[in-house]
Point group: C2
C-alpha cells in the first residue's frame, strides 16, 4: 500500500473514524483504524456496535489495506507539519509515515481480522439538511434513558408520518419531542429507534452551518447515515416504544410564558444546594405572575424567583431540577411557554408558537411539612 494526502484532510478523517473505535477493548484490532487504499483512501472504525467509514482525497500509488492503532495514528498525524503525508507499507506490514523531515516506522496489523461492518438493506432514503438533523438529535437525545433493563428507551424514536419527522426520547422521568416537516421525504410512513450512543456521535459529525444534506437510510436491522464523505452504520433497537402522545395531558389549567435564560439562571441558583448526595427536589410555587423556587437540603435553604407572563392561582409543584434544566437548555427560543395542570401532573414546555419541540417533566411528590 502506498499513498499520499494532505495532513489536515488526513487528520480530519482520522478524528471522525476514531469516534467508532473502542478505546478499551480486549480485542486489540478494535482499537485500530482500517486504512483501505483503492482509487481513493477510506478510513474505517468499528467497535461492533457502531461503524464509521470516511473518505479522504488521496493520491494512491499502490492499493492495499492495513490496520493501525487509531490513537497512535491520530497523535502522530496531529503533530506532523502542515504538508503532504506519505504512507507506505511493505509486505511485512512495516509502515512508514513521512512528512517533511519526520519519519515514523510502525508495524501495522493485517486487515483480515478487522470485523466486517453490517451491510444495510435500506428500503428507503430520508434526505434532510445536516443542521436540521443535528438540532433534532441535540434537542432530544439528552432525555434518552441509560437504563439497560429497558433497551428500547436507550434510543430515540424516529417517526415519519405524512412527511413530518418526529424524534422522541423518554427515560421515565421526562419526555422530549422534536418535530420538523421534511422536504423530499419518502411517501410511506415509518418508525424506527436509533441508539442514543450512535446519535451522540452523529450529532458531533454533522455540520451546524451550510446547506449540506444528510441521508438517513433505515434498513430492517440496521441503519445507515450518509453524511457527506462519511457513512455511519449502527443497529436499530427492537421493541415497543412508549405511546408518547398518551403521556401528554390533553388539557391544562394554566398556560404562561417566561424568559428562558432567566428561568434557567434562577433554577441553577436554587439547585446549588443539590448534589449527588443531597438530591432534594426544587419546590416551585406559582403565585400570580411570579414563579418562586426554593430548595432545602441538609446544607441550607435557597430561594429565587422568576417573573412569568400570565397568572397562576397559588400552586406548589416539586421537580428534579436537573430534568427541568436539561429541557430548558434544549429550548432554542428566548421565550418559552409553560403549561401546567396540577401539582401531580407533568409540566409541559413548548415554544410560544408552533410545535417544534415539546418537553414534559414529571413532578416529584413533596413532603407536606417542608
Amino acid at each position: 500500500m502506498k499513498f499520499s494526502c494532505e495532513k489536515s484532510a488526513f487528520l480530519d478523517a482520522i478524528s471522525i473514524a476514531s469516534r467508532a473505535v473502542s478505546t478499551k477493548s480486549t480485542i486489540a484490532i478494535l482499537e485500530g483504524l482500517r486504512l483501505t487504499a483503492t482509487d481513493t483512501l477510506t478510513l474505517s472504525g468499528y467497535d461492533l456496535s457502531m461503524g464509521i467509514r470516511t473518505q479522504v482525497d488521496a493520491d494512491v500509488l499502490e492499493p492495499g489495506e492495513i490496520v493501525l492503532s487509531a490513537k497512535l495514528l491520530g497523535d502522530i498525524v496531529r503533530k506532523l507539519p502542515n504538508d503532504v503525508v506519505y504512507v507506505e507499507t511493505d509486505d511485512k506490514l512495516l509502515t512508514t509515515i513521512k512528512c517533511g523531515r519526520s519519519v515514523f516506522n510502525l508495524v501495522a496489523s493485517a486487515s483480515d481480522d478487522f470485523p466486517a461492518m453490517p451491510e444495510v438493506d435500506a428500503a428507503c432514503e430520508i434526505p434532510m439538511h445536516e443542521k436540521v438533523l443535528k438540532s433534532m438529535i441535540n434537542q432530544t437525545v439528552f432525555a434518552v434513558s441509560d437504563n439497560q433493563a429497558k433497551p428500547i428507551h436507550t434510543g430515540c424514536l424516529f417517526e415519519l408520518t405524512d412527511g413530518k419527522l418526529t424524534v422522541v426520547a423518554v427515560d421515565g422521568f421526562r419526555l422530549s419531542i422534536r418535530r420538523e416537516m421534511l422536504e423530499n421525504a419518502p411517501a410511506e410512513d415509518m418508525k424506527f429507534v436509533v441508539p442514543g450512543t450512535a446519535l451522540r456521535e452523529i450529532e458531533r459529525i454533522l455540520h451546524e452551518d451550510g446547506d449540506s444534506v444528510a441521508t438517513v437510510c433505515p434498513g430492517e436491522k440496521h441503519i445507515l447515515f450518509a453524511l457527506g464523505k462519511t457513512t455511519l452504520v449502527c443497529r436499530l433497537i427492537d421493541g415497543e416504544f412508549l405511546n408518547y402522545n398518551a403521556a401528554i395531558p390533553a388539557s391544562f389549567e394554566y398556560t404562561v410564558t417566561a424568559d428562558t435564560r432567566e428561568l434557567i439562571t434562577c433554577l441553577e441558583r436554587v439547585s446549588l444546594l443539590v448534589s449527588e448526595k443531597l438530591k432534594n427536589p426544587v419546590r416551585i410555587t406559582f403565585d400570580g405572575s411570579v414563579m418562586k423556587m426554593t430548595c432545602i437540603t441538609a446544607v441550607g435553604k435557597s430561594y429565587d424567583e422568576c417573573a412569568i407572563n400570565g397568572s397562576v392561582d397559588p400552586l406548589e409543584i416539586g421537580f428534579n431540577s436537573r430534568y427541568l434544566l436539561d429541557a430548558l437548555r434544549a429550548c432554542s427560543d428566548d421565550t418559552i411557554q409553560l403549561s401546567i395542570k396540577g401539582a401531580l401532573n407533568p409540566i409541559v414546555i413548548t415554544p410560544t408558537e408552533g410545535e417544534k419541540y415539546t418537553y414534559l417533566v414529571l413532578p416529584v411528590r413533596l413532603k407536606a411539612d417542608a
Copy 2:
C-alpha cells in the same frame, strides 16, 4: 456579622483564598473559608501547610467572624447576579446571603475551631515586581522534585547575593536556575527554600502585567508573600540544598544555537512513541549542523531533525525527552544556546546572551546495540 460587598470583588477574593483550602480533609473546618468582618472584610483559607488571607472592599455594618464551606460559598457567589451581595449571620450562626431576588440560608461554623496561621517573624523584606517573581517561579518550579524522601528538593532555593536573586530547583535528573538583579534588595545576603506547592499557588495569584510589587518576607521557620491585598504564608524547608554550581560543567566541547520552537516541535514528534509504559529515551545525534532525533519503542521508530547554528562532531546522547521538553518550554527566547560536553555529560540550555536562566538535563545511558 453583617456586611455587603460587590459580587465580583467577593468572588475574586473567594477564589484566591480557596487556593489554600483543603479539598479533601478529614477535618471539616479545613474545607472552610473564614470570613472576618472588622472595619474591612478578610477571607482566609489555611490547609495547615499554606495559608492565604485576602481583603475585600466591603461595607461592614456589624463585625463578626464565621467559617463557611469554601466550595459552596464559591458556587453560590459565582451564580449570583452582578450586584451587591448582602451577608448577615445571627447569633446561632444562621447565615443569610442575599443578592437581587436570590436568598440563601446556610449554617456557618464557629471560627474558634479554625486553625491560627503562623505569625511570620520577618527579618527583612525583598520587594520585587509581581511579573518578575511570577516568571522566576514559572521558569524553575517545574524541576522541583516530588520525591518526599528528600524534602529539601521539593522546594525552590531562593538565594540573594549582592542584590542578585537566584531561584533554583533540582530533582536529580535536571536542574533549573533563574537569575535576576533586584532593585531595592536588602543589603545582607540570604537563602531559603520555599515548598514547590506553595510557589505554584503564588504563581497563579501573581499578576503578569502591570507594575504591582510583591514583597517576599522570609522569617526563621516561615515565609510571608505580600501580594497586594493578598498575603500567603507557608513554612520554609530545612536542610542542605544541592551545591548547584558544582553540578554545571566548567567547560564544554561545543556551543551551538537552535530555534526554540522548532526544537520543541521535533522533540514532541519523536516522543510520540514514548508513553507511561514505554519510557525509552530519545537518541539525539549531533552531526555537523543538524540535530537528528530518533526514538525506538515496542510500538515502532520515529525520526526527526532540527537545524542548529554551529557544528558538532558526530556525537550521540540519550535523553528523557520530557525533561528536555520541560526545560525548552520554559525558555522565554526564540533562540536558545545548547552547550554540550560529551555523551555522558549533561546538556546545558541558556539564552544566547546573558544568564537569566540555565537549564541542565542529565543524559540517559544508551544501549550500544540500538
